[in-house]
Amino acid sequence: MHPIRRKRLTIVLFLLAGIAVAVGLTTYALRQNINLFYDPSQIAAGEAPLDVRIRAGGMVEEGSVLRDSESLKVEFKVTDFNSSVLVEYTGILPDLFAEGQGVVAMGRMTDNGRFVADQVLAKHDENYMPPEVAEALERASAAKHKAGDSSSADTAY
């Protein structure tokens, strides 16, 4: 390669490396601000500030959703399978809201350890499948459970 071109190429590479390092350090320093939400473990560890509007995100714990029969008030636990946080919300939930699905809630931590949300967004995962496949998977896992139960019942006899 021509020496002048080699020199230019080196300059270009240095430019790229320099920008990459600068942007890398900046985003690393700002990582807590770039994170959209705190997960339940961070909240349990006391990393989330009290009485400041923050977002909390995780999975809706199975069997934890309690709906008020009189109003739109709903309570559920958000978990990351290590810790969980109790969320209180009054309003209409998105269609994809369900037990076992991801959510991101916007609101405040109160000092009694509850998270009072004023907005709940659903977070869906990267897996897509036709309904028939989802049903078949569910049936298969239910059958597995049942087989497990019956075998334990057999030993009980």
Binding site: R5, R8, L9, I11, V12, L15, L16, I19, A20, V23, T27, R31, I34, N35, L36, F37, D39, G57, L93, P94, D95, L96, Q101, V104, Q119, V120, L121, A122, K123, H124, D125, E126, N127, Y128, M129, P130, P131, E132, V133, A134, E135
Partner: protein, 247 residues
């Protein structure tokens, strides 16, 4: 190999090659894109969770994918501009930037339309959405800077440096969903793993991505030809070409 590279640098030679390539790109792209879209939008099975609303993926993913690919291609062309001072590389950057901007806008727009029914919001300042918005502004910056400097050589160098500065945003877009907590879900397609979607969903998606690539190729050739004719309007081969067209 090097001779080919040098020949490619000649605008006249490229003009001829593009002429021969363009019908293939256009028709191949149109057939693939149409097949992918019709299959995806009308015949692919619906999603167990999102129902039919996931079908916007067949427009959202190809445009987002291309928006980033086009920027990477522009960055390669920018290196060629800076190191080899090849005019044609700058012609490509100028021709591709508006197309990339439109694709980025399309990705953001379809994402917002998808986000409303699934997440419950049109927009959220999470890392993926924000970095994609930065990509749109980078495209706007490239277009504006290129148009603001009238001297061809200075314009080419300034734009090339801007494109290179902006290329750090591409890995940020790609890995934003892994490095930070985001509302946007992680990638369905990974290089090393099987896609987390059955074949009757990803095959139409693949067809539309390939189709859009070819359509982009066709459109880039067309825009580059226009740019070449404008820049070389005083040369003999362009004058002869115009005369031949006129008769």
């Amino acid at each position: 190999m090097w001779q080919f590279f040098h020949k490619l640098g000649s605008p006249k030679w490229f003009f001829g090659i593009a002429n021969r390539l363009m019908p293939w790109l256009l028709w191949g792209g149109a057939v693939l894109l149409l097949a992918g879209l019709v299959w995806g939008l009308a015949f692919a099975p619906k999603d167990y969770l999102q129902g039919n609303s996931y079908r916007i993926i067949f427009i959202h993913v190809p445009s987002a994918f291309l928006a980033q690919s086009v920027y990477i291609m522009m960055a390669v062309a920018a290196v060629v501009t800076l190191v080899w001072r090849m005019k044609l590389a700058d012609v490509f950057v100028k021709a591709a930037a508006p197309v990339g901007a439109v694709l980025t806008f399309l990705a953001l727009f379809t994402g917002a339309v998808w986000g409303k029914p699934t997440w419950g919001t049109w927009w959220i300042w999470d890392a993926r959405l924000t970095s994609m918005l930065i990509l749109l502004f980078l495209y706007f910056g490239v277009i504006a800077l290129g148009a603001a400097i009238s001297d061809e050589k200075s314009s080419a160098r300034a734009v090339a440096v801007l494109v290179l500065v902006g290329v750090v945003n591409i890995p940020i877009i790609k890995y934003s969903v892994e490095w930070w907590n985001t509302l946007h879900q992680p990638a369905t397609f990974k290089l090393t793993e099987k896609p987390s979607m059955p074949i009757e969903m990803w095959l139409p998606l693949l067809l539309s991505v390939l189709g859009l690539y070819l359509i982009f190729g066709w459109f880039a050739c067309l825009r580059m030809q226009t740019e070449i004719l404008t820049r070389e309007r005083r040369t003999r081969w362009v004058k002869e070409l115009v005369q031949a067209e006129g008769n």
